[in-house]
Symmetry: C2
Subunit: 333 residues, 2 copies
């Protein structure tokens, strides 16, 4: 399938380029999310899977495999497996965060209950390992089992680091690797493995996914202090209200004077927030250059993602993946 | 290691027989439940793993592998993986059931929070797949991925069947296969696979684990209407109060007259329970022969488990596994 010149955004271009594969992946997802015995499972899953997510992670699997010259169909199984892991983590995250909205719709834990979200998440996680087993590749198994452990570890770390204003940038990056980058890098790395790529290419695609994921999450955290509800489907200041130590806040705390430190300790450390505190937080973040510094970091990670691609095979998809890295940070520039 | 003649119970005998292997499994469990970044993980896991559970499932893995003449050490990885899956499901179950006690101690969701239970469960589940990958056997992967899907499916089915007094014995058995028997049968089957057993033996060990697991769960459900708090670590009538459709109740409803049907509909269907209702339920269960009939079913499943062993290799552990099936139902006779 040729590129559609009318589609301008890199993610849409990638989706158009891989539309044939993606159609097969969607069919596979629908087939494998079924349950003969428990109709609640596809109900809950469909609510989330069909809510119009961008399918970024399965697209990364497909793109990596095709970029490495793969002509088989096992990458379809892998793409579905990665989307199931992603969906399972969303279901569990919404329970953990007590979220009310996801992708502009009520969350599953609100529509059904926490129990269903926990158990359907477990089901999808198990289903993803069945899909991986169908690829017949033990290396793929290992990559995704490792990623799953890193994801859960990152979430637990986030839980214990939340509200702790001594959280460092290093811990933030560890958390981000867990909550976002681990599945991005597992998607691109395992896509290359299923294509039989050599170790240099495999490593390059791992690094691309890792850096892209970190850039993506920093941007997401920045938008929470500067995007609009329409753009990101959540309200500005959610992270502030939930007392999350994201990169802009960590940078502002590192540069804080005594007054500001007391402000952050009260709002984030102790959770005592009043009307006007979010505005003051935004003022401090700007005054301390914390938003700009975080933006600079995001762009550096995107550049790192692009550089990693130098070791990947020359293929038209390489340009698409490079543009995707630029696009991820374009939302904040 | 020889058998200790002073130890009378089959489960204790099995544990004594396999004490060397089990020591290695316990060391592996402690090593793999660690987390470099998130100390909350081993805290929560240790609370449960070290609470003195009987390690029945890893023992089944070890026994099946040894029974099939295995002399290697991959069954240790598998036993640890199975215990991690079991622990993960306990953590998630306690969130789903809003339990306060497990093995006579406060549950993790009570000591920490639901969030930690969900995420640490996810971590252990991922860790179990890493352990499986280390066995290098794709067949083992497939067996345990299938079991994990069946477990989650059974739990969701239980959620939707709860409080529905039209639940049949067939649905009950499906739920029990999910919540209990799937991991028993996966333990014994995968133990034989890691030992290189042929298909006949593999199938025999699958059937043994499946039937043993069903007998085990029917007994557990019976004890809820007849055991003592001391014996089972939970209170009589918990299932009644939680409006669970277990085998005795399903049998009593099938035999109910109009008055009794109205009673079950009120207590289980609508959850309107008064003082004295549990006593009346016990009276009806006895009068309708529901407890005796469920007991007969449990014994039949135990016999089925023992029969399956006929196709397993002649080995002293075969007698131990056969005695274990008798022991499981001895708690109700």
């Amino acid at each position: 399938m040729g590129m559609n010149e009318n589609v301008s955004k890199p993610l849409d271009r990638l989706a158009a380029e891989l539309a044939g594969d993606m159609g097969d992946v969607n069919a596979l997802i629908r087939e494998r999310m079924a349950s003969r015995h428990a109709p609640r499972i596809p109900e809950v899953t469909a609510h989330l899977v069909e809510a119009g997510g961008k399918r970024l992670r399965p697209l990364l699997v497909l793109a990596a495999a095709r970029l490495c010259g793969y002509a088989g169909d096992k990458h379809l199984l892998l793409a579905a497996a990665v989307e199931f892991i992603h969906t399972a983590t969303l279901l569990h995250d919404d329970v953990v965060d007590e979220s009310q909205q996801r992708r502009g719709r009520p969350t599953a834990n609100l529509l059904w209950d926490n129990k269903s979200s926990v158990l359907v998440g477990d089901y999808l996680f198990a289903r993803s390992f069945q899909l991986m087993a169908d690829t017949g590749s033990m290396q793929v198994m290992r990559i995704l089992a490792n990623a799953s452990a890193t994801i859960a570890e990152g979430e637990v770390l986030q839980l214990t680091a939340a509200q702790d204003i001594t959280t460092t940038e290093d811990i933030y990056i560890q958390i981000v690797r867990g909550k976002t980058a681990a599945l991005f890098s597992a998607a691109t790395e395992s896509g290359s493995v299923v294509a039989g790529a050599d170790d240099t290419v495999r490593q390059a695609l791992f690094e691309y996914g890792d850096a892209l994921g970190i850039a993506f999450q920093i941007v997401d955290d920045l938008l929470d202090y500067g995007g609009s509800t329409a753009t990101i489907g959540k309200n500005i200041g959610d992270d502030f209200r939930e007392r999350k130590l994201t990169l802009p806040v960590i940078k502002a705390i590192a540069a804080a004077d005594a007054d500001e430190r007391a402000f952050w300790e009260r709002c984030i450390g102790q959770g005592k927030q009043d009307a006007g505190d979010l505005d003051r937080a935004l003022t401090i973040l700007k005054a301390r250059g914390a938003l700009d510094a975080a933006r600079t970091d995001a762009i550096a990670w995107a550049e790192r993602a692009k550089s990693a691609l130098a070791a990947a095979p020359a293929h038209e998809l390489r340009k698409e993946l490079s543009d995707l890295a630029d696009y991820v940070v374009s939302r904040i520039s």
